[in-house]
């Protein structure tokens, strides 16, 4: 009786999963491997080798990797400081970092646009100081900046969580055994917070790789990321098959990168020696 009830409870989730995850995924796979006449083809996948698309993919990989690295370098020390602070003070600072996330993501990126554009706030400030205007908007750098700004909290929070769970006596033990600050950090603190680092990297890298909003606002039509190309296939060209095919290729890249990260997570020893 009880068992039956429990099985019933999973019903809504099962329906949700099938309706919104499994079926869409099957559809994408179906579109990705067929042409307009529903015949099997690999053409959609091989579109990735098209120079413009390939360039967009490489730029996406580069920018999201850069944004992830910068987020990691910025978030880790901050998380260290926060985790060592009194709980009241750290709660306030964490909240300050999270508040922007309560606003619409479009709005945040739009704010960067007004800051960076040719007659934007920054260039007006430069003009006021009689300095030459800078070409800021519609550059890969602007996109990377947007990614860093948008995704930093997603790097910060998991690392902060894993640091607060760290028993500080373990750090003291490392000092006690003769390790200096750097040795303690790389041999003890980093490996023990690897789960936080891995989820932080995943939560920044994956959305950054697939984004089209940030590149749309801050890259204009000048800088295309793979997300924009897929977006165009669906919304402008109307070629669902091509869009699905490219999505599948992108998915493979994400799966590979996640598998690599998972390897670091379970094999912390290896992670420790690489870092």
């Amino acid at each position: 009786m009880k068992k039956k009830n429990n099985a019933l409870l999973t019903g809504p989730y099962l329906i949700w999963t099938v309706a919104f995850i499994v079926i869409p995924l099957i559809l994408i796979v179906y579109y990705g491997f067929t042409d307009e006449n529903h015949r099997f083809t690999l053409d959609n996948l091989s579109r990735i080798t098209d120079p413009v698309t390939l360039k967009a993919l490489l730029l996406s990989l580069l920018l999201s990797a850069l944004a992830t690295a910068v987020c990691l370098i910025m978030a880790y020390p901050l998380a260290m400081i926060l985790s060592r602070m009194k709980s009241g003070a750290s709660a306030i600072i964490t909240t300050i970092f999270i508040i922007p996330m309560w606003m619409n993501s479009l709005l945040r990126i739009f704010a960067w646009q007004t800051l960076l554009e040719r007659n934007g706030v920054i260039n007006q400030l430069l003009a006021f100081l009689h300095l030459p205007p800078q070409h800021l908007i519609n550059t890969p750098a602007a996109i990377a900046l947007g990614m860093i700004y948008d995704y930093l909290p997603f790097m910060l929070l998991p690392i902060y969580n894993s640091l607060t769970k760290l028993d500080w006596n373990v750090v003291n033990a490392a000092y006690d055994l003769g390790a200096n600050g750097r040795q303690t950090f790389f041999r003890v603190i980093v490996p023990l917070t690897m789960p936080g680092i891995v989820s932080g990297i995943t939560m920044v890298f994956v959305p950054a790789l697939t984004t089209f909003v940030i590149s749309d606002f801050l890259g204009g039509s000048k800088v295309l990321l793979i997300g924009n190309i897929i977006d165009q296939q669906f919304t402008q060209v109307g070629n669902w098959n091509a869009g699905s095919g490219l999505s599948l290729v992108l998915m493979v890249f994400i799966l590979v990168s996640m598998a690599v990260m998972q390897h670091f997570d379970t094999d912390e020893e290896a992670a420790g020696s690489i870092l």
Binding site: N169, V170, D176, P191, M194, E268
Partner: protein, 379 residues
């Protein structure tokens, strides 16, 4: 007498305006097993952390082997710590945990392998090299923490309540293990605990602390038999602490009855505290219905007087069997005396109570709250 290895001079430390250590002076000799004993918040762990370098004293000096190490970082000190909750590196296997300090000091892998093996043998965990810390029991993890510390051949091993998380049986076993280890290694142990039994079992020297002050320093026998104040007497084992008057040298009046004792120099007609250990009280059964003027009573009283001219009369009000002895409450002169005896006196039975003059421990009454926590400078 061996030389002073660690010398703590006028150490003062406060946290958030709260005084934790007040002008603490203490030296630790080479090869000694010294225990800092006291209730939580007495400053014992802070003292240990100052020796280990994890806390800086507000004022005062830490001298190690003749050198001032007050501001030296923990990783530069020739001592190692065993932490309360083991603090093992959970991302490394046992061999790597133990090898951590040796790798930092760039020892050869051959040397490390030998040392790890030696340390594991020392803590009776041979063959555990490739296990992960999480797969070990609490007692085993604590042994690994000790092994990880001692492979570095420290001159001093600091132990912060290392047995606190273990169950009673394991704790007893580990106490003997620690004594054995200390003897085999021939190094100094500084041990922190709130468990008086643990302190009595293992230590060469016990430092009893309360509220940031050292109350008494001495051998376990000294501390137990000659507590310097009521706090020590109360903290170390069970005891009866009663108000009394020192009539003159070697004579004390307790609840109106005069007892011979061995203490001198307290003056005459001076109020004092008297500490009497429960096992030192002898009980003599009064047969039922015997009154104070009957010859039967005198017979028992004569026997009681053999020990000490004075004696008390009371009634057993509570009885618990404790294995080795019976623990009894004896109501006499309005005070409930705690008595340990191997003989059974049923609840309700009337008894005479007496004790050997040697077992009456006289202490000065504290004159104020402050004096209750005797500063080490006075000792």
């Amino acid at each position: 007498m061996s030389n002073r290895l660690i010398d703590l001079q006028h150490i003062t430390k406060s946290f958030d305006g709260q005084m934790v250590l007040d002008d603490l002076n203490l030296y630790i000799r080479e090869n000694e097993f010294l225990t800092l004993l006291g209730p939580s918040g007495c400053g014992k762990t802070t003292t240990l952390r100052i020796i280990g370098g994890f806390e800086q004293p507000d004022s005062g000096k830490v001298i190690f082997d003749g050198k001032d190490i007050t501001t030296l970082a923990p990783n530069k000190r020739q001592l190692n710590t065993v932490f309360q909750k083991y603090a093992l590196f959970t991302h490394m296997n046992i061999a790597d945990n133990i090898a951590f300090g040796l790798r930092i000091r760039k020892k050869s892998e051959d040397y490390i392998r030998e040392k790890v093996k030696y340390a594991l043998r020392l803590v009776n965990l041979e063959g555990f090299e490739n296990r992960m810390p999480d797969s070990l029991s609490g007692g085993q993890q604590q042994r690994i923490a000790i092994a990880r510390a001692i492979v570095n051949e420290p001159k001093v091993l600091l132990l912060d309540e290392p047995l606190g998380a273990l169950d009673l049986k394991l704790r007893k076993d580990m106490q003997y293990e620690l004594i054995r280890l200390k003897n085999e290694l021939g190094i100094t142990f500084v041990y922190v605990t709130h468990d008086q039994e643990e302190a009595l079992t293992m230590s060469d020297t016990i430092v009893v602390m309360n509220q940031g002050y050292i109350q008494q320093i001495g051998t376990p026998e000294d501390i137990y038999n000659e507590p310097t104040n009521a706090f020590v007497a109360d903290f170390i084992g069970d005891s009866n602490i009663v108000d009394a008057t020192m009539v003159k040298d070697k004579l004390v009046e307790i609840f109106g009855t005069r007892f011979a004792c061995v203490d001198t120099g307290f003056g005459s007609n001076k109020p004092v505290d008297v500490v009497i250990r429960p096992e030192d009280l002898e009980l003599y059964a009064l047969p039922d219905g015997v009154t104070a003027d009957s010859p039967e009573y005198e017979k028992v009283a004569d026997k009681a007087r053999e020990l000490n001219p004075g004696f008390l009369e009371g009634t057993v009000t509570d009885l618990i069997f404790k294995g080795v002895h019976y623990e009894m409450d004896v109501e006499a002169n309005g005070y409930t005396w705690l008595v340990h005896s191997t003989k059974l006196f049923p609840v309700g039975s009337r008894v005479l109570m007496n004790l050997d003059p040697f077992n009456i421990q006289i202490m000065n009454k504290p004159e104020s709250e402050d004096e209750q926590a005797v500063s080490s400078a006075d000792l």
